[in-house]
Amino acid sequence: MAWFKKRDDRDGKKKSQDDIWVKCQSCSAHVFKQDFINNQSVCPKCNWHGKLTAYERIGLTLDSGTFVEMFENIRPADPLQFVDGKGPYTEKVEAARAKTKLNESIVTGAGKLNGLDVAVGVMDFRFLGGSLGSGTGEKILQAANYAYDKNIPYILFSASGGARMHEGILSLMQMAKTCAGVARLDAKKIPFISILTDPTTGGVSASYAMVGDVNLAEPGALIGFAGRRVIEQTIKQKLPDNFQTAEFVREHGFIDKIVHRRDMKKILHTILSYYNR
């Protein structure tokens, strides 16, 4: 979901207002859109981290002009001929492709981070909620294999609601497939850094996102396995307000560090600078 609401039926006056102002989803402050964008889509009033597109994230992470995209032609098939209450999966895929100009929920490739060669994968929540489909899993694996072959670190930014139901059991198998890829990096002692951004839940939290050498997260990101509603129905009690926030997960020992967006590149570089092989 875009962090500011788009309305196609709004009148011209409202439209120009929306082009100038954005409303923070956390503190409700109205902020100049340009200030917000200049601040890396972080609210200047309360530090709330808005969602980024994959290419925006790559722009903030890699040295300018060094990113080479790979495996960009991989896109969803419809292995189950899946149709749900709202129509066929293929229509949803085409709508997502048209909206995002992406072929899958992740962008993969290689580039330089402060001069260091790295392989990267960056998920894009706009594409079917960043869900983990067969194409997503293939790209994550291929990028891991590239890191493996070139002996370069692998950096993976997650933003996903979990497995893609429309691909059924095949989406579940992507959890095993992607983990097999990062397991091989581990066996070859190649660094794998995972960054969990808002949101990282379900099957993605229960696979590659949680098994980085170092797990970083952005402030306030929703991170967890089961959905809040499912848990509340199961245990029949209200959950704490901070439940499944990055801070909650760090408190319980599964996130190494919460990093403000403006510091992420520097921290990634610092961590990788300790790699001494």
Binding site: D84, G85, M165, I169, L172, M173, C179, A180, D186, M210
Partner: protein
């Protein structure tokens, strides 16, 4: 045999008729006995017909049948000398996911599996087979022990899913499953898994990254329960049967999607009608695959496992 489902009614009626005949025919060896034999044959055929044409949603009901054999049935039916090993060495011992050394015929194995109960008390004690992080961590500890002792791992999958509770989240359900997926990919001993009942999403896969994945013919294996899927994608759990269709969760579908390697055929009428026959078939299938896997070197084994899971999924290039 007590019947639970509408689709089993024709068989139930035939069985009742057979019982009646038998009662009235005590001692008779003539025409009534022949009649009984004829009816029994018909009954078996009807059972086979019904079970060969179950809908996915009916299959879900069979997979969850309260009389379906559970792990401790299989332990007593086909394993011997089971030594249960408890605890994850960090937090506790999960009763929903258990394991230990056992013998399958002459073959020594590390047996790990979800442990459902068959009555309310047992199910409460075993959390309906829904494991917590300490269950997955115990499983991993036992797999590493098996690797050290050079004993193959056999896992029995039968869970509605990993437990969705506050405590499970606090102790890192996501990390525990993720860790197993990653470590199982590297484990240098053969792993054979069988989905015996419900293969519930990540909670099932957490012990399911195997060299050979088998599935009982009326088991199901899915990324989400049909009910869960229906309430999200149809916004109404009443569409569970449609969701079960769409999700392709039966053994036949999974075989055609290359997710499982072999279907282990249940007796006509389902596993719940004949635990022993079901167990014997499972035992044969596991031993057959273990025998082949045990000829491979550790390097070959992990390479093949990596290739197997690398090939999972369908996409357009």
């Amino acid at each position: 045999m007590e019947r639970e489902f509408d689709f089993e009614k024709p068989v139930a009626e035939m069985e009742k008729a057979i019982e009646k005949l038998k009662a009235s025919a005590s001692g008779d060896t003539g025409s009534i006995a022949a009649q009984i034999a004829e009816l029994e044959k018909k009954c078996e055929e009807r059972k086979k017909e019904i079970y060969d044409s179950l809908t996915p949603w009916q299959t879900v009901q069979v997979a969850r049948h309260p009389k379906r054999p559970v792990l401790y049935d299989y332990i007593s039916l086909i394993f011997s000398d089971f030594i249960e090993l408890h605890g994850d060495r960090a937090y506790g011992d999960d009763r929903a996911l258990i394991g230990g050394f056992a013998k399958l015929g002459e073959q020594k194995v590390m047996l790990i599996g979800h442990s459902k109960g068959k009555n309310v008390d047992e199910n409460v004690r075993r959390n309906f087979g829904m494991a917590r992080p300490e269950g997955y961590r115990k499983a991993l500890r036992l797999m590493r022990l098996a690797e050290k002792y050079n004993v193959p791992v056999v896992t029995f999958i039968d869970t509605p899913g990993a437990y969705p509770g506050l405590d499970a989240e606090e102790r890192g359900q996501a990390e525990a499953i993720a860790r197993n997926l990653t470590e199982m990919a590297k484990l240098e001993i053969p792993i054979v898994s069988i989905v015996t009942g419900e293969g519930g999403s990540g909670g099932a896969l957490g012990i399911g990254v195997a060299d050979v994945v088998l599935m009982l013919s009326n088991a199901v294996y899915s990324v989400i329960s049909p009910e869960g899927c229906a309430s999200i994608l149809w916004r109404d759990a009443a569409y569970s049967a449609q969701a079960a269709d769409s999700l392709k969760i039966t053994a036949k579908s999974l075989l055609s999607l290359d997710v499982i390697d072999e279907i282990v055929k249940e007796p006509a009428g389902g596993a719940h009608t004949n635990h022993r026959a079901t167990g014997d078939t499972i035992k044969k299938a596991i031993l057959k695959h273990l025998k082949k896997l045990l000829t491979l070197t550790p390097a070959k084994l992990t390479e093949k496992r990596f290739e197997k899971f690398s090939a999972m999924g369908k996409f357009i290039k």
